[in-house]
Amino acid sequence: MAETNTITLRYFAWVREKTGRAEERVSLSPSVQTVAELLAWLKSRGPEYADAFARPGVIRVAIDQRHVKPDTAIADAREIAFFPPVTGG
């Protein structure tokens, strides 16, 4: 049996609206190792994901509630969040 890594994915703002969910648990294939690879995998999961992740360059990502870059390794992340550039203040 292939080893998988189960993590919580969270979506905010228009990423949440486009995917139609605020969070979910997923089992990641060991071949998905970086944030960029995870974004590519998400985009392939269906029409609503294809829409939400159509332009992966505009999506910001946080692993365990810290900002990360596309080349960051997922490693043993527990929670990964996806959101548009922030607009508070």
């Binding site: 703002a13 509630q65 959101f83 548009p84 922030v86 508070g88 203040g89």
Partner: protein, 155 residues
């Protein structure tokens, strides 16, 4: 140093009074209050809805506040950011900085706002008078404002 993320309104005067109560060394207090503006690009706004990432929001605000204290001789500071649906005219955000002299307090308040606007996980959705709504786009100007703080002094 304290940060709050809350739905309730705040009172800037009361926050200042609490920060300087019992102190005799504060010489400058700077406050910034962000308010829901009633128009954007000529369209009439009725409300702004603020979404955030609970957990990460407080951690980011605390990190930004700690960084401001590392850079300037601040004696006290306060950040309050509201979330939820806020009507036109409502307060959104408050930043207060206290220092012996004004330059540090002014600069630290600007730094806090520039970082908050580009790093803290909040998102604004505008609701217009015609019933439509849209997520606010991040501003290149905000990114530029933050980047000036990363340039080395004298550059």
């Amino acid at each position: 140093m304290t940060v709050s993320v809350q739905t309730e309104d705040f009172n800037a005067a009361a926050e200042i009074a609490a920060l300087i109560a019992g102190r005799t060394d504060v010489g400058a207090v700077v406050t910034f209050t962000g308010v829901v503006r009633g128009d954007n690009g000529g369209r009439d706004l009725v409300a702004m809805t603020l979404e955030h990432y609970p957990g990460m929001t407080n951690a980011e605000l605390e990190a930004i506040e700690a960084e401001s204290h590392a850079r300037w001789p601040l004696q006290a500071s306060r950040i309050i950011h509201r979330v939820g649906e806020l009507p036109v005219g409502a307060n959104i955000v408050l930043v207060v900085t206290c220092s012996p002299h004004r330059h540090a307090a002014f600069q630290a308040a600007e730094f806090l706002m520039d970082y908050l606007k580009t790093q803290a996980p909040f998102w604004k959705k505008e609701t217009f008078a015609d019933g439509t709504s849209r997520w606010v786009d991040a501003s290149d100007g905000d990114d530029a404002a933050r980047l000036r703080w990363t340039q080395t002094s004298g550059a």
